[in-house]
């Protein structure tokens, strides 16, 4: 599915070759077409109801900034889910990493040495939490849902202990200068999201790591008998999701200029929703980074459109729920159809 993910669909194809169109609609490209249409409809709705306020460069940047943090988490989540797992802990790990990177000790060291100390701290915390998840799941044979649920609770608690439930203001100016800057008129945070997505796409579709992920998620028994070290690869997948949470923590620090044990609450659910809506199979074995990016954009555009129209957060939640169910129903239909042909 890697190649078809990005294959161009011209309108000529659609008009002259219904057979080709049908095949594309039932394939991976078809799912992405559905996502493009959904995003398009949302934008039309936004323009109609909010006009200039919605259709402006400023607002576009707002949407992208909103999408960036969840987006990075979602790319990591795409790997875990494609590999047949689930990671409920990424939101808490984000919070823990944000706190650990902003302790007095870390910030002092960052001021004396380099701002990157804070980045490394956040990434190391993320990787460490992912390592614990991965080892518990791959070698301890704990069900992924339970192991990461435990990590979700424990990481949040640890973050509260370290921060003593207080917000930790970032006072390393060099750090803020770097991450709150803009490049070509676009926030650094959005660039980071873009970079993570591109690296994720290449990793999933063009490398042996991606191939192993598909194999481990698609049929772990077959992968094992083919000589793939399923346990080790599973650990890598959770470490990767943890590192993504660490990157997201850095972005969160930049956006809010503070570390807090409440950062990232329920983000894991937003990330899972974006991944599933994007077309990655929750059962594993099939994943799409492009779809995930669309999923993230759909949700952040939805939030933006609803906010522009002064609709309540509760109404947003209802709409999100409907979208998730619709996407999964569609996914099952498509899966059933590819199976029967």
């Amino acid at each position: 599915m890697s190649a078809t993910d990005l294959s161009p669909v011209t309108s000529a194809d659609a008009v002259t070759a219904p057979g080709v169109l049908r095949r594309m609609m039932s394939g991976a490209a078809g799912r992405n077409i559905g996502l493009v249409i959904a995003l398009g409809l949302l934008c039309v709705f936004g323009v109609v109801t909010a006009g200039e306020r919605f259709a402006s460069i400023d607002n576009l940047m707002t949407i992208l900034r909103l999408a960036a943090v969840i987006g990075v988490l979602s790319v990591g989540m795409t790997f875990v889910i494609t590999g047949g797992g689930i990671d409920l802990s990424v939101g808490s790990v984000l919070g823990l990493a944000s706190v650990w990177a902003t302790t007095l000790a870390t910030q002092t060291m960052a001021e004396n040495l380099h701002w990157s100390v804070m980045v490394f701290t956040a990434l190391a915390v993320g990787a460490g939490a992912g390592l614990v998840n991965g080892v518990l799941i791959a070698y301890g044979k704990v069900v992924a849902f339970i192991a990461t649920l435990a990590m979700m609770v424990a990481a949040r608690g640890l973050a509260e202990m370290i921060a003593n439930r207080q917000t930790q203001i970032v006072h390393v100016d060099t750090f803020l200068d770097v991450f709150r800057a803009e490049l070509l008129g676009v926030s650094v945070l959005v660039w980071i999201f873009a970079a993570v997505a591109v690296v994720g796409w290449v990793l999933l579709n063009r490398t042996t790591f991606g191939r192993r992920t598909l194999a481990v998620g698609g049929n772990p028994e077959a992968a094992r008998l083919a000589g793939i070290n399923v346990e080790r690869h599973t650990v890598y997948l959770y470490v990767l999701a943890g590192v993504a949470a660490g990157i997201a923590a850095v972005m969160m620090l930049a956006r809010t200029t503070a570390g807090s044990s409440t950062h990232g609450q329920l983000y894991e659910l937003d990330a899972i929703a974006a991944v599933v809506v994007g077309g990655t199979l929750l059962a594993g074995g099939r994943g799409t980074i492009v779809g995930t990016v669309f999923g993230v954009l759909i949700f952040s555009t939805l939030t933006n459109v609803f906010t522009q129209n002064n609709l309540s957060i509760s109404a947003q939640a209802v709409a999100k729920g409907v979208i998730i169910v619709a996407a999964v129903l569609l996914q099952q239909r498509l899966a059933a159809r590819t199976r029967s042909t």
């Binding site: 042996t208 698609g218 077959a222 094992r224 008998l225 083919a226 000589g227 793939i228 070290n229």
Partner: protein
């Protein structure tokens, strides 16, 4: 060929059905894609008898009982039950009619109590509430009737022994007021004392007018508990209603002697100085098999014959490290393998094509070429980046080498037939460069034409210097393909020798009677 036997032991055959005939299945045909599982089976069961169903693996026993229990729909044929035409569109209909099935894998729910299991799906309720006391009372009655008043209806089923779980399963069958109970290899999980008790229960049931359809591979059991025998072969009834005292030799003759003779390629003969590629020494897996030793030279095909559950598949899986051996060693080309590591075995050049290709072997929704390169794709990568064009090219070469059709590397694995999926598994290990090939049931679900091709392929691989170990339930396949045969019975090797010096009857005799040659 078998006409004589058929007429002699078939009291109830004919257009008029005697009143004591409880169940009459006639001309049952069932096709599966690419294979005819049942090709006109007749079965007649009389009230109060134990009717044994005998046949080799693949003869159609399982399909037949699945038709009777409503799990499969026959393509043609009729079922009469208690003198009336019976249709069983689903398992519930079968239970309602009075036909209950005890499957080989016990179908009890571990977390529920004995009583809850017995009345699962037809709980005694009033207004939506279960009537607990009545439930427990009725269960206790059934258990007493089965001669096991000692089992408490409130015990969690997961805590019971396999034999006791079987009693629960039987109580469930009785709770449906079943007139016919089908037992699929009920003795497989039991020790001899428990088997004796099972027989006592079976006798009590038949004494009450219940008919039991009993499936077993153990002839001695059939002699002890059976009344009459129906023999199936290649999806047909070859003998109906034989007395249980029919001599072993006759039964085995009926079960073998196929109508379809497979063409096996000629053996080339293994030079005595050929390198030993696989050496298995004293290999054991606690509770499954023990003391398995053999070696395979380059160019040699070794066949493991034995019944399902005799430990054959486990031996292959242990050799390749998918199960961790509790005793013994495995050497591939002189290098000792790390136990319990498939990666190590694959790196050393040993590969397993597993019994259940779809579940254990293939990525069904991935294109064929990725299935073929699953154990070698790293070779097509530079610094981790895959060169898919080179990968596809290599896969295409293997498609040609194995004559896999259609030779389209981009089609998903799911869309290929069983025979071609099996060729894909062989192609995977060819591409990997394996010199030790372990093939578990390589022709299961493969049609006749493709079988011959796979046999030829296995032979060619051997001639090019591979060491092949093949496991098959079809004894003629093992004998026809292998140079050396090991007969496995209940986790032990009971015979080792050249394939030319043993025939199908002798092998069946070894595995069914368990006697040493």
């Amino acid at each position: 060929m078998v006409d004589g036997v058929q007429s002699e032991g078939c009291p109830g055959a004919g257009p008029t059905v005697p009143s004591d005939v409880l169940l009459h299945m006639h001309g049952i045909v069932k096709h599966f894609p690419g294979a005819k599982a049942l090709d006109g089976v007749d079965l007649e069961v009389v009230a109060g008898e134990v009717h044994c169903l005998l046949g080799q693996n693949g003869a159609g026993k399982s399909t037949l009982i699945k038709v009777l229990s409503g799990a499969h729909q026959p393509d043609s044929g009729s079922i009469e039950f208690e003198g009336r035409a019976l249709s069983v569109p689903n398992p519930v209909a079968a239970l309602r009619a009075g036909v209950a099935t005890m499957y080989q894998e016990l179908d009890v729910v571990d977390g529920l109590s004995v009583a809850e299991n017995v009345f699962l799906g037809h709980e005694i309720t009033r207004g939506g509430f279960t009537r607990r006391r009545e439930l427990l009372g009725r269960t206790a009655e059934l258990l007493a009737r089965l001669g096991h008043p000692g089992i408490s209806p409130t015990t969690e089923v997961g805590r019971l022994s396999a034999a006791e779980q079987q009693i629960v399963s039987m109580a469930r069958a009785l709770s449906h007021r079943a007139r016919v109970i089908i037992m699929d290899e009920p003795s497989a999980v039991l020790d001899s004392e428990e088997v004796a008790n099972l027989f006592r229960v079976v006798r009590e049931l038949t004494g009450q007018g219940v008919a039991v359809v009993y499936i077993s591979h153990r002839l001695e059991e059939i002699r002890q508990v059976g009344d009459r025998i129906t023999v199936l072969k290649d999806g047909r009834t070859v003998a109906a209603g034989l007395p249980a005292s029919t001599p072993t030799r006759d039964l085995i003759r009926l079960m073998t002697g196929r109508t379809v003779e497979h063409a096996f390629p000629r053996r080339a003969g293994v030079p005595a100085d050929a390198e030993v590629l696989l050496r298995v020494d004293g290999l054991g897996l606690a509770g499954r098999f023990e003391g398995v030793s053999f070696s395979v030279r380059a160019g040699e095909v070794v066949g493991l014959a034995g019944l399902v559950g005799s430990g054959r598949s486990e031996i292959l899986e242990t050799i390749v490290g998918a199960r961790r051996a509790t005793a013994g060693t495995v050497e591939v080309a002189g290098r000792r393998l790390r136990p319990g590591s498939v990666s190590a075995a694959v790196a050393a050049g040993a590969g397993l094509a597993p019994e259940e290709r779809k579940r254990q072997g293939l990525l069904l929704d991935e294109p064929l070429y990725r299935n073929i390169t699953l154990s070698s794709f790293a070779r097509f990568a530079r610094a981790g980046f895959l060169d898919e064009r080179a990968e596809r090219g290599a896969a295409r070469q293997q498609l040609l080498a194995t004559d896999l059709r259609p030779a389209d590397p981009d089609r998903t694995a799911r869309t290929f037939s069983g025979g071609n999926q099996q060729k894909a598994m062989l192609a995977r290990w060819l591409e990997h460069g394996c010199r030790v090939l372990l093939l578990d049931e390589p022709t299961r679900g493969v049609d006749v034409g493709a079988r011959a091709e796979i046999y030829g392929l296995v032979r060619r691989l051997a001639e090019r210097g591979a060491a092949v170990v093949i496991v098959s339930s079809e004894i003629d396949e093992v004998l026809g393909l292998a140079d050396t045969v090991l007969v496995i019975s209940e986790g032990r090797v009971v015979h080792t020798g050249p394939a030319e010096l043993i025939d199908e009857h002798a092998v069946l005799d070894l595995v069914m009677e368990g006697s040493a040659a």
